[in-house]
């Protein structure tokens, strides 16, 4: 599946998609670990789309002093491979670190014979389909029957197809000590089969000689008729792995090998695995070869091929990924409700509600109908947005909630919408042509479409205001299958539409409203100003994204829009006049649109507006952590109102600055005002699809970050700073 998809995509998409997929898959590798499986002789599986790994034990119960085998089993997806002790031209062998009961010992991995996996023109040594890696465990003599004997293996491996993904898994086997061992027969059989297939010591020794580039591995004692020979050296600095190994037959059969470009040989003997066919049967032996003293290179301190075990950290999914479906639905619903209170949304909805008040006096059923139409407007628009986010995500685009504000022309378009709504509210023009009474205007007969469109408009104007709670819900949504993601968006839409819907259905609520009158006109006009304010804010966002040219473009667009609504108003009447008006309006719209798109070009770099705040990059975080500094990262965007509120309320407060200074916290900002795939990826790693996101990295190298809530207070930030700096206990002075 993985492969098939890739082939059909464009290269750029493919790599981005692959990186995303790799990350997601790495997360799933841990997330899908099934907890608490009952069978003692096989651990819970660690699963990724490439590898299903378990730890297998030949014993259910172990006896004191006995030795038995366990095995790490990797079941590999087609075309993927893990690596042998010497990985060949690239790669890294599987490693296991053990946590064992006191006195117990674990041996080295007993490596099966590898396969040469061609990655033209190179070669890898490893395993396809299935790797069973046995390890011998020694039970201490003094183990007491009745005690638990828990084996924990932390495995790390690199799995590659054409791309490589480091994976890791923790495996636990809960065995117990008994007076005598209890064998788990199926597991024993599998492990026995693997042990039987291990390469056996060859009944002869090899001899390695060489001149210049070529080496000769003499194999006196090689069975006659052996064919298809291949020597896999344990050292990765002995031969060119991909070179052919022709067999010179004769008195002394010898394989011709090509000396490695990084040739290094310091021991008088060298080992490897020799595979060949004998009578058609595949054979594998471990071969020790005596080295011609002339070949031994001078000692010079360098790492041997058998490097130390490495631990690969895969970022753990945070908050968002832990969210259950129901919690996500709940948060989304709540977030939707809160969206109603946003300054850009409230006027639109309030006017709608007033319209109901008007209609409800005349006909309750009509009010209900309007409510339902509004609901469908909201639902359809949200679903369209959701489909867009999911669709782009599936195509590999790094998008998140709020992505619509990363395009300057869209920001400007929203500003124009705000201005037009404002002008309409203040009475500069009327929609529908005739100047009608206020009540009629709000809920006229043509208001069916109007009600639907109000719903759609409300969603459009709500998009800039990413409410609290929504980050987590959206983060959850985009990581889920489309059906689940759509349900989350649906819950959001329902929450969003609820107040207006309730108003249209509950006559009791409507009666609470005063009778229509002059106050409605005044309120309507007053609501124009939040809309203008929102427009100012959006133009400011555009200015941050694009600079002065963007402001010019935005103001020209606003001017053109105002001119066009005026023009349409004054050219009403005779047909020629209307035609003239429409043509002129179309020209103005086209001209202004072209001008806007030409000028609203995102700036190349994002500036940071405070000298003591650094620009975020994952490297910087790692470097600072390595220096022992706690790091605070603020993932923000100019269009994210919650982010800006948090900056005002908490992050720019004096006491926060002082505590950062005292604790040596480095404040980094990741500005997502414009599109940035690295930031999108960092958000995804934390299970988020949008900003704000606040991370506090402890001052220890590679330590996981703490995620702060989406609504900050100075106390929250200061307490987190203390934790990150490792001064939790001594912060009495800083505590509230």
């Amino acid at each position: 599946m993985f492969k098939g998809c890739n082939r059909t995509m464009s290269p750029d998409f493919t790599s981005r998609w692959r990186a995303g997929a790799a990350l997601m898959a790495a997360v799933f590798a841990l997330a899908l670990q099934a907890p608490g499986e009952a069978k003692a002789a096989e651990s819970a599986a660690v699963t990724s789309p490439r590898v299903t790994a378990t730890l297998l034990s030949s014993r259910d119960t172990v006896a004191p002093g006995e030795r038995f085998h366990v095995a790490l089993v990797q079941k590999l997806a087609p075309h993927w491979h893990t690596y042998w002790l010497n990985p060949g031209d690239s790669g890294e062998p599987t490693r296991i670190e053990w946590e064992l009961p006191a006195g117990a010992k674990a041996g080295e991995i007993q490596w099966p014979a590898p396969k040469a996996i061609r990655v033209e023109p190179l070669v890898n040594f490893g395993f396809e389909d299935m790797a069973v890696l046995p390890v011998e465990i020694t039970v201490p003599q003094d183990a007491k029957p009745g005690d638990n004997f828990t084996l924990k293996a932390n495995g790390t491996w690199l799995v590659c197809e054409k791309i490589c993904i480091p994976e890791e898994g923790s495996f636990t086997l809960d065995l117990s000590v008994g007076p005598a061992s209890v064998v788990d027969q199926p597991a024993q059989d599998r492990i026995d089969a693997a042990l039987a297939a291990l390469p056996k010591p060859a009944p002869f020794r090899g001899r390695l000689k060489g001149d210049s580039d070529k080496l000769a591995l003499e194999l006196a004692g090689l069975p006659a008729g052996a064919a298809d020979l291949r020597f896999f050296p344990v050292s990765d600095t002995l031969i060119e792995h991909a070179a052919d190994q022709p067999l010179a037959t004769g008195e002394k059969p010898a394989l011709t090998l090509v000396r490695s470009g990084a040739f290094k040989l310091q021991q008088p003997e060298t080992t490897g695995v020799l595979t060949f066919r004998e009578g058609g049967e595949p054979r594998a032996v471990t071969l020790v070869a005596d080295v011609d003293p002339a070949l031994i290179t001078a000692a010079g301190g360098s790492a041997s091929a058998e490097a130390r075990p490495a631990v690969v950290r895969i970022p753990l999914p945070a908050e968002g990924a832990d969210l259950t479906l129901w919690a996500a639905l709940g948060f989304a619903f709540l977030g939707g409700l809160i969206l109603n209170l946003m300054p850009c949304v409230l006027p639109v909805l309030f006017i709608k509600a007033l319209g109901f008040a008007q209609v409800a006096h005349a006909s309750r059923s009509e009010a209900r109908e309007q409510g339902l139409l509004f609901l469908s407007g909201v639902l359809v628009t949200f679903m369209a947005l959701a489909a867009l986010v999911i669709g782009l995500g599936a195509l590999g685009g790094q998008v998140g909630w709020g992505f619509q504000l990363q395009s300057p022309p869209l920001v400007i378009a929203l500003a124009v919408v705000m201005v037009l709504i404002g002008l309409n509210l203040i009475g500069a023009f009327e929609i529908g042509g005739s100047v009608v009474g206020l009540g009629d205007g709000l809920a006229s007969r043509g208001g069916r479409l109007g009600a639907f469109m109000t719903g759609a408009l409300a969603v459009v104007v709500a998009t800039p205001c990413t409410a609290p709670f929504m980050g987590a819900a959206m983060g959850y949504a985009v990581t889920q299958p489309p059906a689940l993601a759509l349900s989350v968006f649906m819950a959001l839409a329902l929450g969003f539409a609820l107040p207006v819907l309730a108003l249209s259905f509950a006559p009791g609520l409507l009666r609470l409203l005063p009778k229509p009158g002059r106050w409605m006109l005044v309120l309507k006009q007053a609501f124009a100003f939040p809309m203008f304010a929102t427009a100012i804010w959006l133009i400011w966002v555009a200015s941050v994204q694009t600079g002065p040219q963007g402001v010019l473009a935005a103001l020209v667009a606003v001017l053109a829009a105002a001119f066009v609504v005026w023009l349409v108003g004054v050219t009403r009447g005779s047909l020629p006049r209307r035609i003239f008006g429409s043509v002129l309006a179309a020209l103005v719209v086209l001209g202004a649109g072209w001008f806007t798109v030409q000028n609203a070009v995102p700036g190349a770099t994002t500036e940071v507006r405070a000298s003591d705040i650094g620009v975020w990059s994952p490297e910087r975080v790692a470097a600072l952590q390595a220096e022992g500094k706690p790091v605070f990262v603020n993932f923000t965007a100019a269009w994210c109102i919650t982010c800006l509120a948090n900056e005002r309320i908490a992050l720019s407060r004096q006491e926060v600055k002082e505590s950062f200074g005292k604790l040596g916290v480095v404040y980094l900002k990741a500005d997502w005002t414009n599109r940035d795939s690295r930031i999108a990826q960092a958000l995804a790693e934390q299970g988020r699809a949008g900003v704000p996101l606040y991370l506090f990295y402890p001052s220890r190298k590679d330590a996981q970050a703490e995620i702060l809530p989406q609504i900050l207070t100075p106390d929250i930030v200061i307490a987190a700073a203390a934790r990150a700096a490792g001064r939790e206990a001594k912060t009495a002075a800083l505590a509230p």
Partner: protein, 210 residues
């Protein structure tokens, strides 16, 4: 205007037509022998060749931005620091991207430059090798894979970037940089003590021989 120019450059890089190589040495590169000559299009669409750097030390870094081993060195800023330190020494650092069209790691000029900006990387140039001609000439195996060419055009070092063959960030602690060691020894007029090592990392994706 801007877009058109970028498109033009991208087109140039994409075509890869300009990439030609002098006949590659049959048995690959060898420390102490003249470094294989190369001629490749850089991320700006300019054709670069080894001879223009005569008299300067040149470092070639085979790279692939999504490879976990490459990411280890970039995410920790070790690679960028090394690039900047080498630039201070007057060394010319060229990053080489050999993934062919359609393979993981393939990028065009603008994207390659964007990656440098994003990662705060400081190579003197990024060479695009989508036909893998340069990779074949140098027998590049992994990303990263490092080569150092001395001012006389002799290959002075080839192999790993350091002695910790792992993709884990913790492996950077205490790692010995073969590149720093080699450059320091070259500067001191000494022979490079570890002149060829086994490189480690992700496999270099090669274009099929056409």
């Amino acid at each position: 205007m801007k877009l058109t120019r970028q498109g033009f450059i991208a087109g140039l890089a994409f075509s890869g037509l300009a990439l030609t190589l002098s006949p590659a040495l049959a048995d690959g590169p060898r420390v102490g022998a003249p470094a294989p000559a190369f001629k490749a299009v850089d991320a700006d669409g300019k054709t670069r060749n080894l001879s223009e750097f005569a008299g300067k030390t040149v470092i070639l870094e085979w790279t692939n931005h999504d490879c976990p081993y490459v990411r280890k060195h970039y995410n920790s800023a070790t690679m960028q620091t090394l690039q900047k330190d080498m630039a201070k020494e007057g060394v010319v650092w060229l990053s080489v991207i050999s993934s062919p069209v359609g393979e993981q790691g393939y990028v065009e000029g603008p994207k390659a430059k964007e990656l440098s900006v994003q990662r705060d990387a400081a190579p003197a140039g990024i060479l695009l090798d989508p036909k893998s001609g340069m990779a074949r000439a140098y027998a590049a195996q992994t990303t990263p894979h490092m080569y150092i060419i001395d001012p006389k055009g002799t290959l002075a070092y080839m192999g790993a970037i350091d002695d910790k063959p792992s993709s884990s960030a913790s492996s950077l602690t205490g790692a010995k940089s073969y590149v720093r060691q080699a450059v320091a020894e070259m500067k001191a007029g000494k022979p490079v003590s570890e002149a060829s090592t086994k490189s480690y990392g992700c496999v270099v994706k090669y274009a099929p021989v056409s």
